[in-house]
Amino acid sequence: METGFLTVYWREMLKFNRSKIMLFVAIIQPALWLILFGIAMSNSFDIIIPEIPSIMSIDYLTFMAAGIIAMTILFTCLYSGISILIDKQFGLMKELVASPMPRSQILIGTTFSGMTKSFIQVIIIIVIGFVIGVQFFYGYSAQSAFVGIMGIFAFVALFSIGLMFLSSAIAMKIESHEAVQGVITLLTLPLFFLSNALYPIESFPAPLKLISAFNPLTHFIDGVRYFGIGSDFTAMGTEYSYETQDILISFTFLAGFAILMYFIAWRTFKNAVIA
């Protein structure tokens, strides 16, 4: 079996650990979002929106925590592809592609490093969330909390892998740093705002609703809410009720997204001329 991806992964993580600024930003950025945006918004929304009695009602902070997790992974993974661009610009990619190691190993190694960074950030968000009052795993038994965490991690893994393949393909295809930044920024905006990260999509106009149903972010966030909050709750005046099969569909959708992105990235890597 090819193990070249482990070498690429080793180098990526070595550098991530070493760059104190990258490490600092990775930790602070999601915490800031959660603390500043979360507390500010939840104070307003919780006043405006009345609680619906009898069903478990979730405060806004808990609702948006899943959105912050999604946004953090989205940013981390899409911008992680830039390490491929830097390897190209510094010529380091030449060392890799002139070696007998298959190019797919570069793709897989880089992707796993993005997934690891995502795991670290999700743990940080959940821990900080607890401190400021996010009610994840509320009323769960120890066993179901464990299942919840594993479920969230499974969704994080698939989601981050798909995004890493996407950003790797972009970074491999495009030559200039500015263009890659531009394309990634252009992607993050609609992906984020056409999802259920910060508000329910039920009130969207029909076309936008349709688009958001095909947005991997929406499926990821549904998965996180299902495992972190529960199958039935209300938030922002909307009732959420997840069947097990809804979550399986979301999981399958994310798997399909990851596979599709892998083929796009693999083709881009295969055809790229690095000289």
């Binding site: 193990t3 070498t7 080793w10 180098r11 030449k94 890799l96 007998p100």
Partner: protein
């Protein structure tokens, strides 16, 4: 297998631009082989094809007995590469740089670790073992890159402009390492636009210009083709001088240069010079200056292309140094 690199009818174009134009050559095992030519001559394109970075568009190439088209991975396993630009991860240490390289070539751990120690010693970087590569000097970086190229025990080591941008003292040291490596039986393929580098190091020199091979041979044979000696002359009547000298026995060629005339002679210069002076005196031509010089590779290049390699270099040098400075 005497010929370790065989290239037949190789051509490569970038769109409409034909960078390498139907070249054929071979390299004998154990040699130091130099590809000499100005920037843009097609050297790096050729080397990039041989090291599998560029696709083989047209022609046949065999390296170490493996077909470049069909056995790419076998070729990759049998070559080492030192790229033209600095290719080092700034945030890795000397040891990690080598460890990373060994791992991507799947060298088993025990062998890898012992070779790394060996090579760090060979290129005298023992004291810099745990230093980040960004803190190394230009010469140290080059030495590290050479060590990296040797880590896989290649049959052939490719060096693309190995001493570009280094100071004279460092260049000489790098040459010593290259010779040392060659003494261990590794074939060296290097490209350079420095005449002295090709002259000092190579067993065989191939001169390339505008994608075509214009001359091939040992440094000696290339220079001898130009005659034994060269006389640089300045006279008060160059036209007449050419007439007088052209049909004289022992003179191979008389050419104009920027300052005067170059007379290529096939005899011992110090003994032949008085004859020239005598001849010109008898024809009433006044000599303003005269000097005697052994032909150099510069003259060889000038002879075959009608241009001086240094003139070619001017504008392009600043371009390449700008590229190196990028982010």
């Amino acid at each position: 297998m005497n010929e370790i690199i065989k290239v037949e009818n190789l051509s490569h174009s970038y769109g409409d631009l034909l960078a390498v134009d139907n070249i054929t050559f071979s390299v004998k095992k154990g040699q130091i082989f130099s590809f000499l030519g100005p920037n843009g001559a097609g050297k790096t394109t050729t080397i990039n094809i041989l090291i599998t970075l560029l696709p083989l568009q047209k022609g046949e190439v065999t390296l170490s007995g493996f077909d470049l088209k069909k056995q790419k991975d076998k070729v990759r396993d049998s070559i080492g590469i030192v790229f033209q630009d600095e290719v080092l991860d700034r945030d890795l240490t000397v040891w990690e740089t080598l460890e990373f390289h060994g791992k991507i070539y799947s060298i088993p751990k025990e062998i890898r670790r012992s070779r790394i120690e060996e090579l760090i010693q060979l290129v005298e970087l023992t004291s810099k073992r745990d230093e980040y590569t960004k803190n190394l000097s230009g010469g140290m970086k080059r030495r590290l890159e050479i060590a990296r190229g040797l880590l896989t025990r290649p049959d052939i080591l490719f060096l693309d402009e190995p001493t570009l941008g280094l100071d004279p003292q460092t260049r000489m040291r790098i040459w010593e390492y290259i010779k040392k490596v060659n003494d261990e039986g590794i074939t060296i393929f290097l490209t350079t636009h420095y005449m002295d580098e090709a002259d000092q190091l190579s067993d065989t020199i191939l001169i390339i210009d505008q994608g075509k091979i214009i001359a091939e041979g040992t440094s000696e044979s290339l220079k001898n083709a130009l005659g034994k000696d060269m006389v640089y002359l300045e006279t008060d009547d160059n036209d007449n001088t050419i007439e007088v000298l052209r049909n004289t026995k022992g003179i191979l060629n008389v050419k104009r240069s920027s300052k005067g005339l170059i007379v290529v002679i096939d005899e011992e210069g110090s003994r032949f010079l008085p004859k020239i002076i005598d001849l010109l005196n008898r024809n009433g031509i006044g000599i303003l200056s005269v000097s005697l010089k052994k032909p150099s590779l510069d003259d060889v290049f000038l002879h075959y292309t009608g241009r001086n390699i240094r003139d070619e270099q001017q504008g392009k040098e600043s371009f390449s140094s700008k590229r190196k400075g990028g982010i």
